[in-house]
């Protein structure tokens, strides 16, 4: 493993030398030796190093001979690894996929500047003597600078040192006489990307290299170059390492033609030009031809490293699309680091559409049969289960519950088919593992993207069900932020005992009930379950038989708690799901049949009050939080599941629907609303008149116009609120729409008012609508019309219908909010990525401090009191309840 990492760094950097110290422990397993990587050292590779680690010298740009066999000394040389099935690597003797590949090298005919080090080379040239190579700082000052740099590093770290070095180098620019050999220094400039000039005369890379060779190790330290890891002259290449073929495999097209990787193309160019350069030099060609070839080689090597250098045209395919060379491979979201190293693909996973099923438990997930027969879980064979597991093998991959593979102790997998079945049943013995189909009760990790918080990935128990969708209890939609308008979700099956144990103890739904964001329940009853509980507990009464029928349907069998009488109230039915010694006091959102808002539970019986969103809803459900505190997560989940089912069954029994007539208002209310609107309109017109006459009293710090807008906005908002009140007062309490709003299941009084009476002022950027035509919003208004209807006030309700102008205003704000969402998502996504990247290493240490990865203390005590939010109640410890309980 360590070896592989070395390759990666090599690939990533091209030139750094790397080394890895391994931890002492070596775990022997199945003939392999696994090692932990302890650290990675970065450095620049010397020419000797490049030659030493190479297995082949590449001398010809040809790839294959006539038979299609890789040419010796070519770029696809089989000493560099194999990518064809059947061939064996000449270096390590292993086959395809076993051989990880080996480096080669080419000797460059002339030195080439490494593009990534150009700025460092420039600094070195500018601040060292051209003759003796010493740094342009007098002897006595060197020590002082060095001490200062060490001090800076102590204080501000490597990044700070880098800055300090920059300052020193900047100072040296003006020195024009070497303090050691008195040689006069010339002005050195750079012609980007890779040409260095001295007094407008070119310094050839050979000259650059000889100058860099003269820099002493001691002086090097002042430039921030560490002796032993780097030498300045290594930044001018004389050897170029050739990456292994496994890093740049060719693809065989359907036609049988080979299509080479971008890197191979680039390397081909380099080798070809390099050979030409060699030949020309040996043949004693004129200097101009050599120079031209040299420049061309420089271009190819530069674009090999980075094909997006500002001053160079990018190297292109014949089709015109730019080549993806080393830098482009590493960089950005689709690059090696973020795409392949930090994010990895996984097996044993599945994705499909989700749909609701309130009859499932909250911590269950409904898995389609097809998926259950494709995804497997390995079960190891022991003397006690061997017969049991053999039956799975016997049923094979087509009969549920069967098995798809058996795994031999040496790790070799064997597929079970109709033909091999018989033999495999005989083969299975202790020490084998059987990859059997998923069954009820197995563990799965369920996830919906975007995975914004840890509740986006939770562990569920599997329930194998017919049809083709994943099913989940609607109560767990909220943490996933899922709905059923076509959402898809992913499932992952942990494959080892350790993974399963960890998933079960840390990720199961009940362990995630309390959000670590604010310390309240994220899971609660929603929608129908809330309105059902509300109807049940607000003056509902039924016969004992009906009540028992209801409770049976949610899976209850013990009715000893049910009072022994013929008429059973809804509160008594609801009490059945509560634990026996549960006490709770809270406030409800809606008032109960006596107009009170207190919810009192004594000894597990709901004495008074209605159950609504404030008690059992998500985010707010205080009753749920109390249950969790007192009885723990398992019990809470159980009670919540029952409440949910009960609520739905009640609605099923009573019937629940909505109609347009739900928001009908009596004649009187309609008149009142009209009055309010007319009055407001008059007032607005008054204001406008005052504005035109300049009599408006101005708010401090505002212009007259701004003041007018503010006053109008205030008036219109007041009008909307007033109509809202009228709607609430006169709207029928009995209709289903209002029941939903009252119980908190869906909708709010504002929505009601918008449907029944007035939609209200449409605002763009916090102001009334002003845009559109010149000094008016729509062409049907007069220019300069400031009245309410000309500036986006919608005085109709949704039910009565909007006038064309009003509809346009509504569409404007609708479009605005769509844009807002579209712009916000990437912005907040980036903020989140930065936050997560900056803070991911912070953890609480055993001494209660919060530290980052290198051990620097961020906080002496987490949150100043060491309280874990997910174990608190809204961030606090509920002292009052403790006092009450004493």
């Amino acid at each position: 493993m360590a070896k592989e990492k070395e390759e990666k760094v090599e690939e990533a950097e091209k030139k750094p030398e790397k080394g890895a110290k391994e931890k002492k422990e070596e775990i022997h397993h199945q003939g392999y030796v696994y090692k932990d990587v302890d650290s990675i050292v970065f450095g620049v590779a010397s020419p000797q190093m490049i030659k030493k680690m190479a297995t082949a010298k590449i001398v010809t740009p040809e790839l294959y001979d006539k038979e299609g066999y890789p040419v010796d000394g070519g770029l696809m040389d089989i000493r560099l690894g194999v990518i064809d099935p059947g061939l064996r690597c000449k270096t390590c003797g292993s086959k395809l996929k076993e051989c990880i590949g080996h480096f080669g090298y080419i000797e460059l005919a002339r030195p080439i500047i490494h593009i990534s080090f150009v700025s460092v080379i420039l600094d070195l040239l500018r601040s060292t003597c051209k003759e003796c190579g010493r740094i342009l700082i007098p002897k006595d000052k060197i020590e002082r600078y060095k001490r200062k740099l060490d001090e800076v590093q102590e204080e501000a770290g490597l990044e700070g040192r880098r800055k300090a070095i920059k300052d020193i180098i900047a100072k040296l620019k003006t020195v024009n006489k070497c303090p050691y050999c008195r040689a006069k220094q010339q002005k050195i400039t750079i012609e980007k990307p890779t040409t260095f000039l001295e007094n407008d005369k070119r310094i050839s890379p050979i000259e650059v290299r000889t100058r860099l060779e003269k820099v002493t190790d001691d002086d090097m330290e002042l430039f921030g170059l560490k002796t032993g890891h780097v030498r300045p002259e290594w930044m001018v290449l004389t050897m170029l390492p050739i990456p292994p073929v496994t890093m740049r495999p060719s693809i065989t097209l359907e036609t049988g033609d080979r299509s080479e990787d971008d890197l191979t193309h680039k390397l081909g160019d380099i080798v070809r030009i390099n050979q030409r350069l060699f030949e020309n030099i040996n043949a004693g060609a004129p200097e101009i031809i050599i120079e031209d070839l040299w420049d061309l080689l420089q271009y190819h090597v530069t674009t090999f490293f980075d094909n997006a250098v500002a001053q160079l045209p990018p190297a292109r395919h014949r089709s015109g699309q730019p080549l993806k060379t080393i830098t482009e491979r590493i960089k950005s979201k689709e690059g090696r680091i973020r795409h392949n190293l930090t994010g990895k693909r996984t097996n044993f996973s599945s994705r499909t559409v989700i749909s609701p099923d309130p009859m499932l438990d909250l911590d269950e997930v409904g898995l389609p049969m097809v998926v259950a027969m494709k995804l497997t879980v390995p079960e190891s064979v022991n003397p006690w289960n061997i017969e049991y597991l053999k039956k799975f093998v016997e049923r094979g991959p087509t009969k549920y519950p069967g098995a798809n593979y058996i795994v031999r102790p040496d790790g070799k997998k064997k597929k079970i088919t109709e033909e091999t079945k018989e033999a495999l049943i005989e083969e299975v013995e202790v020490g084998y593992a059987v990859e059997r189909h998923l069954m009820d009760g197995d563990i799965a990790i369920f996830n919906r993207q975007p995975s914004l918080h840890r509740m986006s990935m939770m562990c569920h128990r599997i329930r194998v069900l017919p049809y083709k969708t994943f099913r989940l209890n609607p109560a767990v939609c909220h943490p996933y932020n899922a709905d059923f308008d076509g959402d898809e979700m992913n499932i992952h099956i942990p494959q080892t005992e350790e993974a399963r144990a960890e998933a079960e103890t840390l990720m199961q739904v009940q362990t995630q009930l309390i959000s670590p964001r604010y310390g309240l329940s994220v899971i609660g009853c929603i929608q129908d379950a809330v309105s059902g509980s509300y109807l049940l507990t607000k003056g509902f009464e039924t016969s004992r038989e009906e009540a028992i029928d209801l409770l049976c349907s949610i899976g209850m069998t013990n009715f000893t708690k049910l009072p022994n009488k013929n008429k059973i109230s809804g509160k008594e039915i609801f009490s059945m799901v509560l634990p026996n010694n549960f006490n709770f006091k809270g406030k409800s959102k809606a008032s109960d049949e006596n107009g009170k808002r207190e919810v009192i539970v004594e000894d597990g019986v709901l004495v008074s009050g209605v159950i609504d969103k404030n008690s059992i809803g998500e985010e707010s459900g205080l009753m749920l939080r109390s249950l969790h505190k007192k009885y723990g997560e398992r019990k809470t989940l159980e009670v919540l599941g029952k409440m949910f089912k009960l609520g739905i069954k009640v609605l099923l029994k009573l019937g629940f629907t909505t109609a347009i007539s739900d928001t009908d208002l009596p004649e009187k209310a309609i008149m009142m609303i009209k009055d309010v609107l007319n009055k407001t309109e008059d007032e607005v017109n008054d204001l406008i008149r005052m504005y035109h006459h300049g009599k408006l009293e101005i708010f401090p710090g505002r212009t007259m116009r701004e003041t007018l807008e503010l006053k109008i906005l205030e008036l219109l908002n007041k009008a909307r609120n007033e109509t809202g009140k009228i709607v609430q007062e006169y709207g029928s309490k009995k209709t289903y729409t209002i029941i939903m709003a009252d119980s908190g299941a869906r909708g709010n009084p504002l929505n009601l008012a918008q449907m029944a009476a007035v939609v209200g002022q449409q605002a763009l950027r916090g102001k009334r609508i002003e845009k559109g035509y010149k000094s008016r919003t729509l062409s049907c208004f007069k220019k300069g019309d400031l009245s309410s209807e000309a500036r986006g006030f919608i005085k109709n309700g949704f039910k009565s219908g909007l006038s064309p102008q009003e509809f346009f205003f509504g569409a404007m704000t609708g479009r605005d909010s769509l844009m807002d969402t579209a712009l916000r998502t990437p912005k907040s996504g980036y903020l989140y990525r930065r936050l997560a990247n900056a803070m991911q290493d912070l953890k609480v240490e055993y001494d209660d401090t919060v530290r980052e990865a290198s051990g620097k203390i961020i906080q002496f005590e987490y949150g100043e009191d060491s309280i874990d939010v997910s174990k608190s109640e809204n961030g606090r410890i509920n002292v009052q309840r403790i006092i009450d309980s004493v």
């Binding site: 964001r517 604010y518 807002d820 916000r824 989140y832 936050l835 900056a838 912070l842 980052e852 874990d868």
Partner: protein, 375 residues
């Protein structure tokens, strides 16, 4: 109060004070029981070692970030000013920007003034006054190289300055001019020959911006009544000078410019400012995020002694691990720089270990299990 002494060290201060307050007047035996139970509840609620609190904090702010509005400007009622709110403001704070979009101050006043005494005059004296605020007209006479300025006497009186005041301010601002007082303004004469004609135009424009009075940087003022006292809300911020005014209650006056706070009052004040500002926005959006998360973010920004933004130049650049930095942004730069100094990546944080397919050193990846195998 012997029973409390035992728990004073054991409980966090705020919790201890709360219990003390609530158990007041209780029989000692009951109070003791309460204390014991509170202590037990506290121990149960403590964070466990290895808990990845940083990531939880990032999640806690990142997740609601998707629900915030993007509205840059927002009218919060009648008598408030324009402020950057919502997601853009959060981004601004966490970036650690030196220049913020809408700097603001809330100036609290000492007793007689906080009751409304001279509030308008005081507010006007704080506001930065430039020449254009006190004049009605500027006209240039190119032939004679003269600029005539007419004063707005009413405004001047309101702000409390005299003509000579203005004239001396203008005199200091430019070289090579002479100023004469006229009946309703002043007359500026540019010295020098024909070549100075361009100067006339330049000075005519620039003179409008000449600083006369008030606190520099305070662009707008708005006295408002908050509760039963008057405060002054300003657009633009200059903490250093405002805190020096004798009418100002320096203990409560705040700015929303975090960088300025760090410069004037130090990094601890800046940390608190980050917490307050972020909290204010989250609350205004009706979201619920626990203080601890915001505190942790503020601490990561401030623990080095300076304000570091959550950017590749700030907090992330301070990381010890090369690979962790490279995996964030500009990977090539980080790897090249690391190779020059022979940096060693000790693999002590998360991403490197993810890259290497090794257990990460937080949470359950932290402890090593030693199992004794029976031979």
């Amino acid at each position: 109060m012997g029973i409390y002494q035992e728990y004073k060290e054991k409980l966090p201060l705020s919790l201890f004070e709360e219990v003390k307050e609530k158990t007041k007047g209780m029989p000692a035996s009951k109070a003791k029981k309460v204390l014991a139970r509170v202590y037990k509840a506290y121990l149960n609620a403590k964070v466990e070692a290895g808990e990845s609190v940083g990531l939880v904090a990032a999640e806690s702010l990142g997740e609601p970030g998707t629900q915030m509005t993007l509205n840059t400007f927002h009218f919060a009622g009648v008598a408030e000013m324009n402020v950057t709110v919502g997601l853009p403001r959060i981004i601004e704070i966490l970036d650690g920007r030196k220049e913020i979009k809408t700097p603001m101050m809330e100036i609290y006043l000492k007793n007689p003034y906080s009751k409304g005494k001279d509030i308008k005059r005081l507010a006007l004296s704080i506001k930065e006054t430039t020449l254009k605020d006190v004049i009605t007209e500027v006209s240039a006479n190119i032939a004679e190289k003269k600029i005539e300025v007419k004063f707005n006497k009413e405004n001047m009186k309101e702000i409390g300055i005299t003509s000579s005041h203005v004239i001396s301010a203008c005199g200091k601002a430019f070289k090579g001019i002479s100023i004469k007082k006229t009946d309703d303004g002043m007359l500026i004469k540019i010295k020098g020959g024909e070549d100075k004609i361009n100067e006339v135009y330049k000075i005519k424009e620039r003179i409008k911006e000449v600083y006369i009075k008030g606190v520099k940087g305070i662009k707008q003022i708005l006295p408002v009544k908050r509760g039963d006292e008057f405060i002054i809300i300003t657009a633009g911020s200059n903490l250093n000078e405002v805190l020096g005014l004798k009418e100002v209650d320096e203990t409560r006056t705040v700015s929303n410019d975090i960088y300025e706070i760090a410069n004037v009052l130090g990094v601890e004040a800046a940390r608190q400012a980050v917490i307050n500002e972020v909290n204010k926005i989250i609350e205004a959006q009706g979201l619920n995020v626990d203080m601890r998360h915001i505190m942790l973010i503020a601490d990561t920004m401030c623990f080095s002694g300076n304000i570091k933004g959550i950017t590749r130049y700030g907090v992330v650049s301070e990381k010890a691990s090369v690979l962790a930095r490279a995996s964030f942004e500009t990977p090539i730069r980080h790897i090249i720089n690391a190779s020059l100094v022979g940096e060693v990546d000790k693999l002590s944080s998360i991403v490197e270990n993810v890259m290497l397919n090794q257990p990460v050193p937080v949470g359950t990846g932290l402890p090593g299990l030693v199992v004794k195998v029976r031979k």
